[in-house]
């Protein structure tokens, strides 16, 4: 319960913070609307009383009251236009858009290892759903609706009980069962929905297979349509069955509630009739209370629907805030602008969430300016080791030091200023060519000369014959698509542009044709020649040109030394190298 209150308070504050004026406007409007039934009851009572014992003297008063009623409507509908704008464009649109931004910001802030953690990614998924389905705005509207609804109901009840205190019990009796059932309904449905999330996700995934060009190709060729199609249909049927059996029960509850409500409506009319017969109330009150009963019941219903929805929404909202509150590693405070001596990896062990150790007790020291290659089988931990050296992952045991300073003590900005990496799945930004290069050092975004030099240095001038430096790349937004080699050179260009102290290249040439591959390997060695650098590659051929080679096997460092040294050892590296070499003899 306390959690609910905290989340509610956060939603109110957040929405107010995002769009203060509209928040106030919406609250005022809803308060006004909630008070209308009470106001109208008073006015109707006066109107009906004067009509029922009409004589011409009272006609003016009667018309005056009629005009007052019109005025209430008038204010409401004038006010409503402003409200509609505030609600749609601000409470819904603006809040949704800024929550989306908040989620992206938080996601970019997470520790990289969280991306390997299924439960955290799940949480992120729910938080994203929460925002995409405007749950925050809906919840806000519901809170306001519930609060103002309560005020409205109280006011109408007070007005009615001034005519006769007996109206009070009728009002209360008609609400209670509805309230209880609503709360149960809200939760039960949420539980079903939550239990269905994995199935729904599966369904979405299967659907994407059926229409994605990449997968359709294979599904067609393998004729596996029927199998995949069934995988979509079967969970769908299960989901439907579950929802249906819930709905059946739910509708029954709803039906009982409705019957009860109508019954109490009839009861209240009879009750009013008895009061009328006994002359406790006049004809005016009698007429007024009949419409008051209806609008009160409507208000009750809205209120309870609101509460039901809110209890469902708050589950999402709690997850949303839980995601935003995920811990990130504290930033260090040491600022370092150079690596003067080298990098020291000592006794590093590492495990991903839910896995055994991927790296075991690894120690390497890299001197300033050294070129290192990391080789090993698939899954031997090469990329993981590189990520630890880059400070992207935290080792479980051991430490990584740049010149005797533990990298965790460095401030993030200063740490990342020192280093750079080009990974296997480097990003092909659908931005301009300029941005694709200078994204690695956004402060120099406008330094066209430097960008042009970089493009020339990585041998990518050919691209500039086809497009301008400020043209978009990537077909997604109508830009130009580059060939595999051109993209690769662009990614390497980013690393060159940054002029960092340490560069890591991770499998940079996996899908290139022989001539381009050769070009790029040469280019890489060139780039590496004047900076501390690490190269991960399956092409053991390049190892001849680096200073030292770290050979990993099943997470352990099995050999470490220069090409010649390791060949003499005739160990694991020797096997790797000769295995590849024999194909070219």
């Amino acid at each position: 319960m306390k959690k609910y209150l905290i989340s509610s308070k956060r939603v109110l504050l957040d929405v107010f913070h995002i769009t203060p004026a509209s928040t106030i406007l919406v609250v005022l409007y809803m308060l006004f609307v909630a008070m209308i039934p009470a106001t109208l009851t008073i006015l109707y009572e006066k109107l009906f009383s004067s009509i029922s014992n009409i004589n011409n003297n009272y006609l003016n008063t009667t018309i005056l009251i009629g005009l007052l009623i019109c005025l209430v409507y008038f204010i409401r509908y004038i006010f409503q236009s402003a409200y509609a704008v505030a609600m749609n464009a601000r409470i819904y649109e603006k809040v949704s858009f800024s929550s989306k931004v908040t989620i992206s910001e938080k996601a970019s802030d997470l520790n990289l290892i969280d991306y390997e953690n299924p439960s955290r990614m799940n949480l992120k998924g729910i938080a994203t759903d929460c925002v995409n389905q405007s749950k925050i705005s809906q919840f806000f509207m519901n809170i306001v609706g519930i609060s103002t609804g309560l005020i409205g109901l109280t006011s109408t009840t007070i007005v009615l009980s001034r005519y006769s205190i007996y109206f009070l019990p009728i009002v209360i009796i008609s609400v209670l069962p509805y309230l209880v059932s609503r709360i149960i309904r809200g939760k039960a449905f949420y539980c079903i929905r939550e239990a269905q999330i994995p199935k729904l996700r599966m369904q979405n995934y299967i659907w994407s297979l059926l229409l994605d060009k990449q997968s359709v190709k294979e599904i067609k060729v393998m004729c596996s349509h029927k199998y995949i199609g069934d995988m979509w249909t079967n969970p769908r049927n299960e989901i439907n069955d579950e929802i249906w059996s819930h709905r059946k029960k739910d509708s029954f509850v709803l039906l009982l509630c409705d019957l009860f409500r109508i019954f109490s409506y009839a009861l209240s009319i009879f009750f009013a009739l008895i009061l009328l017969k006994k002359s406790v109330i006049g004809i005016g009150v009698f007429g007024a209370c009949i419409s008051a009963f209806l609008s009160m019941q409507q208000q009750f219903k809205d209120l309870l629907v609101g509460i039901g929805e809110a209890t469902e929404q708050i589950q999402f909202i709690n997850k949303y805030y839980e995601f935003l509150d995920l811990q990130v590693l504290p930033d260090g405070n040491v600022v370092k602008s150079d690596i003067n001596h080298g990098i020291n990896v000592s006794n590093v062990s590492f495990a991903y969430p839910n896995t055994g150790d991927v790296l075991k007790n690894i120690s390497i020291s890299i001197e300033k300016g050294e070129k290192i290659a990391i080789v090993g089988e698939n899954g031997s931990g090469k990329t993981t080791l590189a990520k630890i050296i880059l400070g992207l992952y935290q080792p479980k045991d051991g430490s990584v030091q740049y010149d005797d300073i533990d990298i965790n003590k460095l401030s993030k900005d200063s740490k990342y200023n020192l280093l750079c990496s080009v990974s296997q799945d480097f990003v092909k930004y659908c931005l301009t060519y300029r941005e694709n290069i200078a994204i690695s050092d956004t402060a120099s975004m406008d330094n066209t000369e430097k960008i042009l030099n970089t493009i020339a240095a990585v041998g990518n001038k050919g691209v500039l014959e086809k497009i301008n430096i400020d043209d978009l790349l990537g077909t997604e937004f109508g830009g130009m698509d580059l060939s595999g080699g051109e993209w690769q050179k662009t990614a390497i260009g980013r690393a060159v542009f940054k002029e960092s102290q340490l560069i890591v290249f991770d499998e940079p040439t996996s899908a290139l044709d022989p001539i381009v591959e050769s070009d790029i390997l040469t280019l890489l060695l060139n780039v590496m020649s004047n900076v501390t650098s690490i190269l991960i590659s399956h092409r053991t051929g390049v190892c001849r040109f680096v200073d030292k080679i770290a050979v990993l096997s099943k997470g352990e460092l099995v050999e470490y030394g220069s090409h010649q040294e390791l060949l003499h050892l005739e160990g694991y590296y020797y096997k790797l190298f000769t295995e590849q070499q024999q194909w070219y003899k």
Binding site: Y44, F48, I63, I69, C70, F74, Q80, S81, R90, E93, K100, V101, A107, L112, P118, S119, K124, Y205, L209, S215, V216, E218, K220, V221, M222, W232, R236, N240, I243, W244, R247, K248, F252, L254, D258, L259, Y265, A266, I269, F270, K277, F286, I290, N378, G379, K412, Y416, L419, S423, Y429, I439, T442, F477, S510, S518, H538, T540, E579, Q580, Y584
Partner: protein, 586 residues
């Protein structure tokens, strides 16, 4: 367009849900007519009650009218429980019958359609549950119809007071609808104009939320750069929406004022008629009460109407989807002689992608038998993968023909072709399913054949030490595991091996493998080659060297073909590539 979509929607819903459709329509009519009817009954209740109070009416009459009111109220506002039940059932029935249709259609669409960007937009528009969207449109339609009926009923009630007021109301209603429509158009135009911006926004978010890109951005200290782009774009979009909403709201405002003026006049007339005794007290009370409902129902009608005009596009997605060209169905069974050795030949095959002018393949002629191995090498973009796509029938050649044992492959369907080819493309599917399914998807009939599954995985060196065949892969499941690139590649190759096809076609099979695994794989291929034909696209010329025949493609033409030794003697392009690569190992 709009009317056509709506009619189409009705037909679909009727076709797939049958009696439920009529039940729903019946329910809509009853519940919407019950609302104005309730007004008349309320009048009776009040008149009778006052009669009872004055001693003119029997208590039974009062009870009778109250019971009527209860029934009427039940049908008007409170039929919801029934309504939601009908809706849910219709939704389920629709999704069962209709989705089957969609899935079947999806399987028949020509492959070329999937590679067109327009169609990708179409698929996105359809969403995951297209039947739900169709049904939602139907509900908006029902609401609009119901709203109209209620208002017609109200108009009839008001005729009792004054016929010209009723007429005026109808006129005003048309004006209101017109303005609402204008408001909708304004909003829809804006939404359409903003689709690009929204795609950009989600692109920026994606870059900030994906593992590989966020890693890069962190290292470049460029998270802030993208964040700023996202923020600026986001607030621009919101500002424009606010402005447009205000503009659109002006239209609705005019409508509201008109209705208000009418309601004001109504109240005045009511008071005057009541004062003159022209109408009973009961009618006066119930109609005064209804003045607000008039506002409310008009508003509701506008709302459902706007929903309707917002969503009718969904139908267009659906009909466009159903109109996508389908593969030609096989006319008659073709007999392909089942010789020990199969021969595939390309005869003067040329091909240009749709919407493109540059031919990808130019006059390709070669033939190849299933007791050989074939390597296709060449630069990126030289047409290697396209050649495979033609061979599998994903595209048809513009000129020339491709045959298997002298039968044009165009006369075979995919099912027939699976007997001959199993293909693993470079971007093969990494099914987030079980290991079993990942392998046996190439021949689902043998899905339960554990022995063969184990054998194939063992051959390829996929270690089952840590998991069994039922292990799920990927983050869709709590217990799902992640595989490395190399493991995936092995799994995909097992998929090709598992099928009993005559040829195995592999596009870049070793890109993510380490040297030892690569080497082992080549040895394995040698073993397979003895039983089956084997075509491989590779940049690792070492693997090409092992094949009996090598095709060298350049700009869509075969520039050299022959064995490794022949090509090396040739000192042409192949020789150049090979020398470049082997330099690293000297």
């Amino acid at each position: 367009m709009k009317i056509k979509s709506i009619v189409q929607n009705l037909i679909i819903v009727m076709k797939y849900t049958r009696w439920l459709f009529f039940l729903k329509i019946f329910e809509v009519i009853i519940s919407s007519l019950a609302k104005p009817f309730a007004l008349l009954i309320t009048k009776n209740v009040i008149d009778n009650s006052i009669g009872y109070y004055k001693g003119n009416t029997e208590i039974q009459t009062v009870v009778f009218s109250v019971v009527l009111l209860v029934i009427c109220t039940f049908f008007s506002a409170n039929i919801q429980s029934l309504d939601s039940l009908i809706n849910e059932k219709m939704k389920i029935v629709l999704s069962l019958n209709f989705s089957k249709n969609i899935i079947q259609k999806a399987s028949r669409i020509e492959y070329a359609c999937f590679e067109q960007n327009d169609n990708q937009v179409l698929f996105q528009g359809m969403g995951t549950n297209s039947s739900d969207k169709i049904f939602n449109l139907f509900t908006y339609l029902c609401e609009t119809i119901g709203g109209c009926l209620t208002i017609i009923g109200l108009v009839l009630v008001f005729i009792q007071i004054s016929w010209w007021m009723s007429l005026l109301f109808v006129l005003i209603l048309f004006v209101v609808m017109f303005f609402d429509f204008r408001a909708m158009e304004t909003m829809n135009t804006m939404f359409n104009n903003q689709t690009m911006d929204e795609r950009l926004l989600s692109y920026y978010s994606k870059v900030m939320e994906q593992k590989n890109s966020i890693m890069e951005l962190k290292i470049y200290n460029a998270v802030g750069y993208i964040k700023e782009k996202l923020n600026i774009k986001s607030s621009n979009v919101v500002d424009e929406r606010t402005k447009t909403t205000i503009r659109a709201q002006r239209f609705s405002f005019v409508g509201s004022v008109l209705v208000l003026v009418w309601v004001g006049t109504l109240i005045t007339i009511l008071i005057l008629s009541a004062a003159n005794g022209k109408i009973t007290f009961g009618l006066f009370v119930s109609l005064i009460g209804s003045a607000e409902s008039v506002l409310w129902y008009t508003e509701n009608l506008s709302f459902s109407f706007s929903k309707l005009s917002q969503n009718y596009l969904e139908m267009k997605y659906y009909s466009d989807f159903m109109d996508l060209p389908e593969e030609k169905r096989k006319q008659n069974d073709v007999d392909v002689s089942d010789d020990e050795v199969c021969e595939v030949s390309f005869e003067n095959v040329s091909f240009t992608y749709p919407n493109s002018i540059k031919p990808v393949l130019n006059d390709i002629t070669f033939s190849y038998r299933s007791n050989q191995s074939l390597a296709i090498v060449g630069d990126n973009g030289s047409g290697k993968t396209t050649l495979i796509k033609l061979l599998c029938g994903l595209y048809k050649p513009d000129k020339g023909r491709i045959t298997i044992n002298n039968v044009d492959i165009d006369e075979l369907d995919y099912k027939d072709r699976t007997r001959y080819f199993s293909v693993i493309f470079q971007d093969f599917i990494k099914y987030k399913l079980t290991i079993r399914e990942n392998v046996a998807i190439s021949d689902v009939e043998r899905m339960d054949n554990d022995d063969e599954l184990y054998a194939v995985l063992d051959d390829i060196g996929f270690s089952l030490e840590n998991y069994d065949l039922e292990q799920s892969i990927g983050k869709l499941y709590d217990n799902g595991v992640d595989l490395s690139g190399g493991q995936w590649q092995r799994l995909a190759i097992s998929r090709a091996l598992f099928s009993n096809s005559r040829f195995i076609i592999l596009d870049e099979p070793t890109a993510a493998l380490d040297p030892v695994a690569e080497s082992n794989l080549y040895k394995l291929f040698k073993k397979i080659i003895q039983q089956r034909g084997y075509i491989m696209i590779s940049h690792r010329l070492a693997s090409a060297r092992l094949c009996d025949k090598i095709l060298v493609l350049n700009n869509g033409s075969i520039i050299e073909q022959g064995s490794h030794d022949e090509l090396m003697l040739n000192s042409g392009y192949y020789n150049k590539m090979y020398t470049k690569q082997s330099e690293w190992y000297k």
